[in-house]
Amino acid sequence: MPRAWVYGNHVSTDDIIAGRYLAKHDPAEWGRHAMENIDPEFSKRVQPGDVIIAGKNFGCGSSREQAPIALKAAGVSAVVAESFARIFYRNAINQGLPVLTCPGVSKKFKNGDEVEVNLREGWIKNVRTGERVEVQPLPDFILDILNAGGLIPYLRKKMEVKK
């Protein structure tokens, strides 16, 4: 069962992947350094499928698309936050990383809580407390992009259908 990694407000893209790692194009390496500046334990203990739960303005700062790539490479299956910064939000969808908006969510989870996420129906559940909360629904075209694994596979698939 995926577990929650809970963070506060204003987690920046510098926090997600520091500038010193950007030059070398290596997603696995970015995954190994994800969240390093604010949580050195994260990359050592994160398991495939884990979910990040955060406060307001997740992904603020630099436009580096290496940020959602790093989280995906680390195994993160979704980010649920009270709000997102705009460039990170677009980048995450383009990379096929589900980003769900849910006011108040950071208070409903503790680090390590088991999480269930249902993208299609638009809810997440804290298995420990049994509480299920609705997330703001994603439009169909964004769900399609996420299901394809990102904007590029989505576009390629569409182009193949046309052919």
Partner: protein
């Protein structure tokens, strides 16, 4: 409609647009640099695109890691040079020109009424010249390279009216730090921030670029200032093509309006580790520093270096401080050289580096070690931004940075300005 809505409407081929609407807009100029470019090229090739939609409308700059700081950085430069050659990119600026956000205005790409999209968050800077400009990631940029278009949500507009006049050595940086402290780091998320009022009219283009540069630190999609005489004078001889001045209608709708009085503003500082943790310099005076940095797309312009020179002239910076100065562009560098500004700075003990992003992002010139404190005329003080996660960054104006460099601790520049 507001100026932002009017520009987006034109670019979308519509008579009218309203906030919240998703529009497909034509991009007038696109930009990528040595750190976001390689990922863009990779995505561009994965899409299966064969050619850049218009090789005269993509600008490529090298600025983040110049001259190359590592083998990986050098490889990125090689990759982009090859891409520029293969696609016959007309406006390719190798590492001789400086920071994208100074180079694009100087070379006349940031023009009133245009849509400029860059693969860098500080692309918002160009709004100071009356265009719509915002940042995107590498995949979005790849889609622009392939199609010349991007979908955007029309932002609500917030009007920020600044009355009065800044009293030197209080600078435009102090003003925007104060405004960010007031709005908060997400206070303008997804919004257009339109600056107006007497203080903005009086402000130089350098100052306006600083103000618009930092709107992304409060989450804004774009910052914008209506073009005036000063804008047109500045653009004369620079503009790459014809443009049309766009202004907000008198009955344009704003989601919010905030009014500030610049005359009463004191020097400001954003304390670790968030840009909205803003205090007056007086409140943190005496904090010891290891590094003082002036440069970046926020404060590496001529006006900034001039102010720093005025403050350190005839003095010597503290032995305990590395005083790093990085002109934002080759043009700024040359002007600062010819006017004697660089000599004053060097005589005072400054390390003047070649144009580029410098110490701002912690992977090159002036990386901070554990426990070190930096006062920086840049735009972000996130934990570890300039190096070790155990270092601290205080953001301030070039005046405050220069005065602090002399003393080895944070001081109010008003005591050093004659």
């Amino acid at each position: 409609m507001t100026i932002t809505e009017k520009i987006l409407a034109r670019a979308a081929g519509k008579r009218e647009v309203s906030p919240g609407e998703i529009v497909d807009v034509k991009v007038d100029f696109a930009m990528m640099h040595d750190l976001t470019g390689p990922l863009t090229v990779e995505s561009f090739e994965k899409i299966g695109a064969k050619k850049v939609w218009d090789p005269a409308r993509l600008v490529i700059t090298f600025d983040h890691q110049t001259p190359a700081s590592s083998i990986d950085a050098a490889k990125n430069h090689i990759l982009l040079r090859e891409f520029a050659r293969k696609h016959r990119i007309v406006h390719f600026y190798d590492m001789f020109e400086g920071i994208c956000h100074q180079v694009l205005p100087e070379k006349g790409f940031a023009l009133p009424g245009k849509v400029v999209i860059g693969a860098d968050s500080h692309t918002v800077t160009y709004g100071a010249l009356g265009c719509f400009a915002t940042g995107v990631g590498s995949t979005d940029m790849a889609a622009i390279l392939a199609t010349g278009k991007i979908w955007l949500r029309v932002p609500e507009s917030v009007r920020v009216k600044v009355e009065g006049a800044l009293r030197p050595p209080v600078m435009s940086k102090d003003l925007i730090l104060h405004i960010i402290g007031d709005f908060g780091m997400d206070g303008a998320t997804y919004q257009a921030v339109e600056f107006t009022g007497k203080c903005i009219s009086r402000m130089s283009i350098d100052g306006r670029l600083t103000v618009c540069n930092m709107v992304v630190e409060m989450g804004a999609k774009n910052g914008i200032i209506e073009p005036d005489r000063k804008t047109l004078d500045w653009l004369r001889g620079r503009a790459k093509e014809r443009f049309e001045v766009v202004k907000s209608d008198p009955d344009a709708e704003y989601r919010d309006e905030r009014i500030y009085d610049a005359s009463r503003l004191e020097p400001q500082v954003a304390c670790p580790h968030s840009v909205d943790n803003v205090k007056s310099v007086r409140e943190v005076e005496g904090k010891e520093i290891d590094q003082a940095f002036i440069g970046t797309c926020t404060n590496g312009r001529l006006e900034d270096l001039k102010m720093a020179a005025r403050i350190v002239k005839g003095k010597r910076v503290s032995r305990n401080v590395r005083f790093i100065v990085v002109p934002a562009s080759a043009e700024v560098y040359r002007k600062a050289l010819d006017s004697g500004i660089l000599k004053i700075l060097v005589d005072a003990g400054a390390l003047v580096e070649s144009p580029g992003c410098g110490a701002c992002m912690g992977c090159h010139i002036g990386v901070l070690g554990p426990g070190e404190v930096s006062i920086s005329a840049s735009n972000r003080n996130f934990r570890g931004r300039q190096g070790s996660p155990d270092s601290e960054i205080y953001l301030a104006s070039p005046a405050t940075v220069a005065a602090s460099a002399i003393e080895g601790k944070i001081v109010d520049p008003r005591d050093y300005y004659a």
